[in-house]
């Protein structure tokens, strides 16, 4: 997963606590995404960003917020974690909007979050 790193890779937390996942890229890509992966659901888009301070909601954004203050970092925050947010979270980047002919994603290795 060269060029994109997620941290932490594993986290166990308790219901009601705040959690922040970090995605860091060294590719200078404009688009960054947060997906969650759950059995039977594939990947569902939480939020995405198309530039510094430019973000938009995906299909499962309730309970999540994001921030992008620098091109290289995209943070996903769970303000008050719930058990339904136990999942594997994937960050992805894309050259879309920078001359790429199609929106092809490069994924990070994932962050496994368990909310007890």
């Amino acid at each position: 997963d060269a060029g994109i790193t997620q941290s932490p890779r594993h986290k166990v937390t308790e219901t009601g606590t705040p959690v922040t996942l970090r995605c860091h890229q060294t590719e200078n890509h404009r688009y960054m995404y947060w997906y969650r992966q759950d059995p039977g659901h594939g990947l569902r888009l939480i939020h995405y960003s198309y530039g510094v301070k430019d973000t938009d909601k995906g299909e499962v954004s309730d309970g999540y917020s994001v921030s992008r203050s620098k091109t290289e970092d995209f943070l996903l925050t769970l303000e008050s974690a719930t058990s339904s947010q136990t999942s594997v979270y994937f960050c992805a980047i894309s050259e879309w909007g920078q001359g790429a002919g199609a929106n092809v994603l490069t994924f990070g290795a994932g962050s496994r979050l368990t909310v007890l």
């Binding site: 594939g42 888009l45 299909e59 994937f90 929106n103």
Partner: protein, 114 residues
């Protein structure tokens, strides 16, 4: 809601056999992509087929697209144990309200036994 739906959900084959999986989608698309995910890893892009293409090849991979039926298939020929993974289709609608967003299906889990 998922745009792509893969079929079958799981597939078990022996080395050397071909593996075929299908993806159906609901709305018109700009392109359709296939990704592979090895256990515990992130997804990796395999191949992209545009809406004006009907077939595409990449090594042992063959992808077809039938826009009239809103379906695509991925064929892996002469499978190897290393092909054991989950395979996902993803659609890019290219529409204004879905600009920059891909929608993924639930995936097909492929197990290739030696």
């Amino acid at each position: 809601s998922q745009q792509g739906e893969e079929d079958p959900q799981a597939l078990s084959i022996q080395e050397g056999e071909n593996a075929t999986m299908n993806c159906s989608y609901k709305t018109s698309i700009n392109n359709l992509q296939w990704y592979r995910q090895n256990s515990g890893r992130g997804l990796v892009h395999l191949i992209l087929i545009r809406s004006n293409e009907r077939e595409k090849h990449s090594g042992r991979l063959r992808v077809t697209l039938d826009t009239s039926k809103k379906s695509s298939s991925l064929l892996i020929t002469a499978s190897r144990a290393a092909d054991t993974a989950s395979y996902f289709c993803a659609t890019d609608a290219g529409a204004t309200d879905s600009w920059g967003k891909l929608q993924f299906g639930a995936g097909t889990q492929v197990v290739v036994t030696p």
